[in-house]
């Protein structure tokens, strides 16, 4: 069964460093998303991406964040200068269409900023 894959599963980084979280969405999907879940809190929407551009972003998704689809398969989330409060589980998701469909989630990347 097709699935969304994320790498790495766990990343530890020093505060102020740049991190790139990687995702391979399901191959025929056109819409891509990043969500995050701070420990003990709800899952929050960060950004959606379609046709090589951001279609929607939340207030959390400030200038420190960027997304990219560098080739036909990968979808990345970059955090330029990590802060302690960026520590969270980051989920990538993809869907075939925008409406009348569901999003499929990856296993997540646990980011720990020290």
């Amino acid at each position: 069964e097709p699935e969304v894959t994320q790498t790495p599963s766990h990343q530890v980084t020093q505060m102020g460093q740049e991190v790139i979280l990687r995702c391979v969405p399901i191959s025929n999907h056109l819409y891509f998303y990043w969500y995050r879940q701070i420990l003990g809190q709800k899952v929050e929407f960060l950004v959606s991406f379609y046709n090589n551009e951001i279609s929607e972003k939340s207030e959390i998704f400030d200038d420190q964040f960027s997304v990219e689809r560098p080739d036909g398969s990968n979808f990345t989330l970059k955090i330029r200068s990590t802060k302690l409060e960026d520590s969270a589980m980051y989920f990538c998701a993809s869907s075939e269409r925008r409406i009348n469909t569901e999003a499929f989630f990856g296993q997540g990347t646990r980011l720990t900023v020290v």
Partner: protein, 112 residues
């Protein structure tokens, strides 16, 4: 904007007993509703979804949910739980697709 309230943060339940997880949403327009499950140290897996049609939705692992438009609810039920149902359950809503807004989650702990 839409929002989701999960009324129970923790639900302890004995094996083979029924369970109901409550979810209410607020939205001024039609929405899609979802229940996701997160097993320990794993990602989010879709249990079931309501897009349109029958208000009683059946999902995987014996779960079902009923959409009640007048009460703006989408409660999740299972008639008989197993130890393996121990997990966190998230109700989510979207405006006919696109981004999901999640509830805070309900932790279900099944005891023998």
């Amino acid at each position: 904007a839409q929002s989701v309230t999960q009324l129970d943060s923790q639900v302890p339940v004995f094996e083979e007993a029924p369970v109901e997880l409550r979810c209410n949403y607020s939205s001024s327009v039609s929405v899609y509703l979802f229940w996701y499950v997160q097993y320990p140290n794993q990602g989010l897996q879709l249990l079931l979804k309501y897009l349109s049609g029958s208000t009683l939705v059946k999902g995987i692992n014996g779960f079902e949910a009923e959409f009640n438009k007048s009460q703006t609810s989408f409660h999740l039920r299972k008639p008989s739980v197993h130890i393996s149902d121990t997990a966190e359950y998230f109700c989510a809503v979207s405006l006919r697709g696109g981004k999901l807004s999640f509830g805070a989650g309900t932790t279900v702990t099944v005891r023998a």
